[in-house]
C-alpha cells in the first residue's frame, strides 16, 4: 500500500515536471518569435522616418542630389531585402542604409540653418533612438535565443525538447559595427 502511494506521488511529480518544462519551452520559443517581430517593427519605423528626413534636408540643401538618391535607393533595397532576402542579405542592405544615412548627416553638418531647424533635430533624435531600439531588439532576441538554446540543450529538458521537436534557433549576427547602438553625440 505504502509502495503504491510512493510510486503514485513520484509519477504525479514527474508529470507535473513534464507539464511545467514543456510550457516553459513553449513560452521561451514564443518570446523569441515576439522578439523577432520587434526587430521588424523597429526596422519599419526607421524606413518610415527616412523620407521625412530626406525631405527636410532637401529644403536646405537641394543640390546634394546624389546623397538623397543614394539614401532613397538604399532604403528601397533594405525594404526589399527584409521582405524576401536571406538574413545575410538583410544585414548587408541594412549596413548599406546606415552608411548612406551617415553621409546624409555629414551633408547636414555643412548647413548651420538646417542644424538649427527644430524639425530636423526632432527627426535626428527619432532616428537615433530608432537605431538604438533596433540594436536593443536584436540584443533581446539574442538573449532570448541564448536562454532557449541553453534550455533545449541541457539535461533533462533536452529529452523533452527532442521528443517534441524544439529545434535550436540561430543568433542574429550583424556586422560588428552594427551590433552596438549607434551613439550620436549632439
Amino acid at each position: 500500500m505504502l509502495a503504491i502511494i510512493i510510486i503514485g506521488v513520484i509519477v504525479v511529480l514527474f508529470l507535473l515536471y513534464l507539464i511545467f518544462a514543456y510550457n516553459k519551452l513553449v513560452r521561451t520559443r514564443n518570446q523569441i518569435d515576439n522578439a523577432h517581430s520587434q526587430i521588424d517593427v523597429q526596422l519599419k519605423r526607421r524606413y518610415d522616418l527616412i523620407p521625412n528626413l530626406v525631405e527636410t534636408v532637401k529644403g536646405y540643401a537641394a543640390h546634394e542630389k546624389s546623397t538623397f538618391e543614394a539614401v532613397t535607393a538604399a532604403r528601397a533595397n533594405a525594404i526589399q531585402a527584409q521582405e524576401g532576402g536571406s538574413p545575410a542579405q538583410q544585414a548587408q542592405a541594412e549596413n548599406a542604409l546606415s552608411g548612406t544615412l551617415k553621409s546624409l548627416f555629414a551633408v547636414a553638418e555643412q548647413y548651420p540653418d538646417l542644424k538649427a531647424n527644430q524639425n530636423f533635430l526632432n527627426l535626428q533624435e527619432e532616428l537615433t533612438s530608432t537605431e538604438d531600439r533596433i540594436a536593443y531588439a536584436r540584443q533581446f532576441y539574442n538573449d532570448s535565443v541564448l536562454g532557449y538554446n541553453n534550455r533545449i540543450q541541457s539535461f533533462p529538458s533536452s529529452i523533452l525538447a527532442g521528443a517534441f521537436h524544439f529545434s535550436k534557433r540561430e543568433y542574429f549576427e550583424g556586422d560588428p559595427e552594427a551590433t552596438g547602438p549607434v551613439k550620436v553625440q549632439f
Partner: protein, 306 residues
Amino acid sequence: MGMYEQIARNKRRTFVMLAAFVLLIALVAVALGILFQAGIAIVPIAIVLAIALAWGSYFYSDKIALSASRAVPADGPEYRRYHNLVEGLIIAAGLPKPRLYVVDDPAPNAFATGRNPKHAALAVTTGLLQQMNRVELEGVLAHELSHVKNYDILVTTVAVTAVGAVALMADLGMRFLWFGGRAGRRDNNDSGPVGLILVILAFALLLLAPFAAQLMQFAMSRRRELLADASGVQLTRYPPGLISALEKLQADHAVVHHATRATAQMWIEQPLDRDQEKKGTKGSWLNRAFDTHPPLEERIAALKAM
C-alpha cells in the same frame, strides 16, 4: 539565475516587512491601550487598521512616493528623448513601459517606484535631464529599469510607506505620552506599579523609531545599488555611459529638495548631502550608519572593473 533569486528574495523580504509592520502596529496599540486605560479592545481595531495600511502601502506606495517627491508626468515635447531612451531600454529588458515622471529640481537624481514591472514608474529630476548627455542619461535609466526588473522597487516603496507610518505612530505615541503622562501624574500620583509600567512603555515607544529605521536598513541593502549598476550595464552594454553619469553625480553637490530620510533609499544617488550631515547638528555618526547608498567612488570602481 542570479536575477530570479534576487526577485524571489525581494518578494520574501516584502512579505516579512509587511508582517513585521502589522506586528509593530499591534504592539504600539497594546502600549497605547494600557497607557490610556482603553484596555485590550483597541488591539483588534489597530490590527485591522494596520492590515488596511499594509494593503494600502502595497497598492498605493508608488503614488505616495511620487507625490511626496513632487513628481509630475513627463508629458510634452521636451521629454521626447527621455521617452525614447526608456522605450529602447525596455525592448532590451523585455519589460512593459513604466510611467514616466519629472521632478522639477536642479539636483541631478532619479528613482524608480511601483509594486511590479506592470505598475512601475520612473522619475528623474529636471537637473538630470539638463546635465546628462544622451549616453549618460541612458546609463542612469538602465540602472533604474534594473530596479524595476529585479523587484527592488517593491521592497523600497513598501519600506518607505510602512516605515514612515510606523515612525509617525511612534512619534504620535510619544507626544500623547508626554501630555497624557503628565495628566496621569496629576490625577493619581501614587499609582506605584502603574506609573512604573508607564515609564517602561514610554521607553518601549521611544525605542520604536530606531527600530523602524533598522527595518528600513534591512530592506535597502547597499549591495542592491551595485547590482542595479551591473544589470543596468548589461542592458546598455556600455559601462562608460553610467560611469560618466556617476562621475557627474559625484561632482554635483546639490541636494534634492523634496527628498527626506524616508525616501532617500529610492534615489540613484543619496539625495541628502553627506558633508552637511557630517558637520550636522544631530547624531552624525548615526546618520552615516544609515547611509542608503554605497559611496559613488566604490560604484565607479566596480563598473570600471567590468
